[in-house]
């Protein structure tokens, strides 16, 4: 009524609201001291390496302002790379270079930037322009991901990524974020990217939203979004699920991209994943999160563990994925 949903109806759908997410799922399942490992992409990368989780290759790290002078020399062997702030959030401060033209770098949009501009960008990253609270930061230089062609026509001017919500290591909900003209090539739902809910069982599209409104077709390319299916879905889920062991965070958002050469790569982890994914999936998170708690209780009882929500799981990532794929659509 009057543009508002009735709380009763939302509760029946199992929609998790902002307060519930913060008070219940994040506060109770994400220990504060583990945040730095996901908020700092350098730490995340180190952890992933030690757990053999595939991530985009790290070419180098720029830690102090003086090093920006040597940057151009360092980047000589690379034509394609990405520079990102280690503590940035929401895709802020990420610079993608997809080619060179004489003394210039070329961004995927075709815009050229000079050596000085690139150095200044790195200098800004180091001084904390993009980090939370303006703290000084490190700049990561990564290999550019070679995206698969599977999303051709589903995304406009940009690259899609896959967001999987993990609860205690179980993939509970997933979506892919497709950039649009309105989102300026960014896969950011706030700026008008399209969110497409994905079936945990199959990786096929369920529904799509843009600006919180259900849509059927991509606004720019016109492709019917329900035709979308993410390839090697089980691999994607496995990669996501294993990052639970890496981070230890119970309620976790995992961002994954598909690389033509290496398959699924983990891009970043998020300790406070957004709730729009429920709209894209046309269903609420609550029943799935409850189901996970039930499964964990059962599994732990079998193994004579104390029935504690925070205790480590006894099941492997593979087992959890199987259970989730059997249970969720």
């Amino acid at each position: 009524m009057w543009g508002f949903a009735s709380p009763k109806r939302l509760r029946a759908l199992g929609i998790v609201g902002m307060n519930k997410r913060n008070v219940y799922y994040i506060a109770q399942h994400n220990p504060r001291h583990l945040y730095p490992t996901v908020d700092d992409k350098l730490q995340t990368k180190d952890l992933c390496h030690s757990h053999d989780i595939a991530v985009p290759k790290l070419l180098g790290v720029c830690r102090i302002q003086q090093h920006t002078k040597d940057l151009i020399e360092f980047l000589k062997p690379y034509d394609q790379f990405v520079i990102k702030p280690a503590k940035g959030s929401g895709g802020k401060g990420i610079l993608v270079v997809s080619g060179r033209d004489g003394n210039c770098f070329i961004k995927p949009s075709g815009v050229r930037i000079s050596h000085q501009e690139l150095q200044r960008h790195v200098s800004n990253i180091l001084s904390g322009l993009f980090s939370l609270g303006g703290k000084t930061d490190n700049a990561l230089i990564e290999d550019m991901v070679q995206f698969t062609d599977d999303f051709n026509g589903f995304s406009y001017e940009g690259v899609p990524d896959i967001r999987v919500i993990l609860f205690k290591g179980y993939p509970v909900m997933a979506m892919t974020r497709l950039s649009t003209h309105a989102s300026d090539g960014k896969a950011n739902l706030h700026q008008g990217a399209v969110g497409v809910g994905l079936s945990i069982k199959t990786g096929k599209a369920i529904g799509a939203v843009q600006h919180n409104n259900p849509i059927k077709q991509h606004p720019d390319t016109g492709r019917v979004l329900t035709e979308l299916k993410v390839p090697s879905w089980e691999k994607v889920l496995l990669l996501a699920s294993r990052s639970y062991d890496v981070s230890g965070l119970g309620y976790l958002g995992v961002d994954i991209v598909l690389d033509r050469r290496y398959g699924p790569l983990l891009l970043e982890l998020n300790a406070r994943p957004g709730l729009a994914i429920q709209m894209a999936n046309q269903t609420g998170l609550e029943p799935r999160l409850r189901w996970v708690i039930e499964q964990e209780k059962k599994a732990n009882k079998v193994n004579d563990f104390k029935c504690d929500l925070r205790s480590k799981s006894v099941l492997t990532a593979e087992q959890k994925i199987r259970m989730a794929m059997d249970e969720f659509d």
Partner: protein, 506 residues
């Protein structure tokens, strides 16, 4: 105990403590629950400072006289190291302080509480000498010339007195200029008016007193003229050109001799703080509770000096602002720029008034954003960038202040009440938001912040609420309980209901 139970326990405990204390104060000590405008008590704090020039210092200070209408509930002298003596000389009370070890800057306080009884205009005839006419010759010529310009000869006395004072205040009038500058004998506008009125046949006296305004700090002594009209004595302010009610002023002295005599010191200054306080039934209850040394009253805000009480009166309101922020953010889901920035803006609104405050805020932040957009191109480092924005903000403050003053609107000067560091950060955050999420998001957050600040202001500026909280600071425990309860609320926010509305249609 699980955290949910702990929270429940804590909330219940805080609420019962709060309600219990309020009920105790109301039922046992007789504090009124809702403040009643008729029973006003005024706190007056007199602060005397001087630099001691010799170790033997002595001061004489006029104490306010208690008339039939004005009663003092309580009066105390706070002057460590000094001997205090009350002297009565020819019907006037003086306080005399003396010490033999005064070094450097000396500060003495006198605190008193006053209330007014009955009809204030029925003030008793005081047996104090009248002012006498001292002008002669040329002065009288000039005075008569001035009085001739006043046309309201037929009007009633009050209108005529106002008109005479108005004529005296006319800067262009030559006679007024001569009277004020050459024949005033350095005794000021009120004295000149009293001379003029005596020429007109009125009986007058010069008085010095403290004007009673709520939360006025550091005011100096006010000179007034007492005029007898139709057998009643009325107070007139020649500067404001209006009559002053008897219950709006505490008379410190009749005549225009200095209030304070200092021997063995220099640079002496007297300043007054006034604070409007609770009703007589409250004060009588308080006084009786203090006699029985009730700890709830003895260890309370009322035992602090008045200047600090004024500060606390404001501080006690801040939790209400915080409560508004908590409700709007966690129950409604409004986005603000900076968590408690709206509370600080609301505090500024208390000084500037709401509409003017919003205009000034939009002006400063708007101009700041335009100036800041240039900085974006320079790619400065974070701290120098915010420091530059801070300099911008100061320049904008100065520009608004000077421009508005030059154009004759002194409201622009109130811009200085805004906290500049907070505004700098607001501009910085909004500028980044603009670059990253676009102007739409900036608009949403600005409106959210101003809405929150306005609601907080409306709550904090309500004098009934302010008085009640000051009377029952225990209410803060209840506020705390509500904040804690909201902190554990896991239901939907209004914004969730809006956002997930399309789900209903699926």
């Amino acid at each position: 105990m699980s955290s949910a139970r702990q929270i429940l326990f804590l909330v219940v405990l805080l609420i019962s403590l709060g309600i219990g204390a309020v009920a105790y104060k109301h039922l046992v000590l007789g504090f009124p629950l809702i403040s009643n405008e008729q029973e006003v008590v005024w706190n007056l704090e007199t602060k005397i400072t001087f630099d001691a020039t010799s170790s033997n210092a002595r001061l004489m200070f006029n104490l306010p006289e208690t008339t039939l209408n004005r009663k003092e509930l309580f009066s105390e002298v706070f002057s460590p190291g000094y001997q205090f003596e009350l002297i009565n000389q020819s019907g006037t009370d003086y306080g005399m302080w003396s010490t033999s070890n005064a070094v450097g800057k000396q500060t003495l306080y006198i605190r008193s509480q006053t209330y007014f009884l009955g009809d204030p205009s029925e003030v008793a005839h005081v047996d104090q000498p009248l002012a006498s006419l001292v002008w002669e010759g040329a002065a009288i010529q000039a005075a008569k010339a001035l009085l001739l310009t006043v046309n309201e000869a037929t009007a009633d006395s009050k209108t005529r007195i106002r008109a005479i004072a108005l004529a005296l205040n006319r800067v262009t009038d030559e006679n007024a200029y001569v009277l004020l500058n050459e024949y005033s004998e350095g005794r000021g506008r009120q004295w000149v008016l009293s001379q003029l009125l005596m020429l007109e046949g009125y009986e007058t006296r010069l008085v010095q007193g403290v004007l009673l305004e709520d939360m006025r700090r550091k005011q100096s002594i006010h000179h007034l003229v007492e005029i007898k009209i139709d057998d009643k004595w009325l107070l007139f302010d020649a500067r404001e050109i209006d009559f002053v009610d008897w219950d709006r002023v505490i008379i410190m002295q009749r005549g225009d001799e200095p209030l304070l005599d200092v021997f063995g010191g220099q640079n002496s200054q007297v300043s007054f703080s006034t604070l409007k306080d609770q009703r007589s039934s409250f004060t009588t209850a308080l006084a009786s509770a203090q006699r029985d040394s009730n700890p709830l009253v003895d260890f309370s805000i009322y035992s602090l000096p008045i200047a600090e009480q004024n500060t606390f009166k404001l501080l006690l309101l801040i939790p209400l602002g915080a409560l508004v922020v908590v409700i709007l953010r966690n129950l409604v889901g409004i986005q603000t720029s900076g968590t408690f920035m709206p509370v600080l803006i609301a505090l500024s609104f208390l000084q500037t008034s709401l509409i003017l405050g919003i205009v000034l805020f939009v002006l400063v932040v708007g101009v700041g954003l335009i100036m800041r957009s240039y900085l974006s191109r320079l790619n400065l480092l974070l701290v120098p960038r915010i420091a530059s924005v801070l300099v911008f903000v100061i320049i904008i403050y100065a520009a608004i202040g000077i421009l508005s003053f030059k154009m004759g609107w002194d409201w622009g000067l109130k811009v200085t009440f805004f906290p500049m560091i907070i505004l700098s950060w607001t501009i910085e955050r909004m500028s980044i938001l603009w670059d990253e999420e676009g102007g739409h998001e900036v608009f949403i957050q600005s409106v959210g912040s101003l809405l929150t600040a306005s609601l907080a202001y409306l709550l904090m500026s309500n004098s009934t609420i302010a008085d009640t909280i000051f009377l029952f600071p225990e209410i803060l425990l209840i506020v705390l309980a509500v904040i804690i309860a909201i902190g554990s609320y896991s239901g939907y926010r209004l914004s969730d209901l809006r956002r997930f509305e399309p789900m209903e249609r699926l």
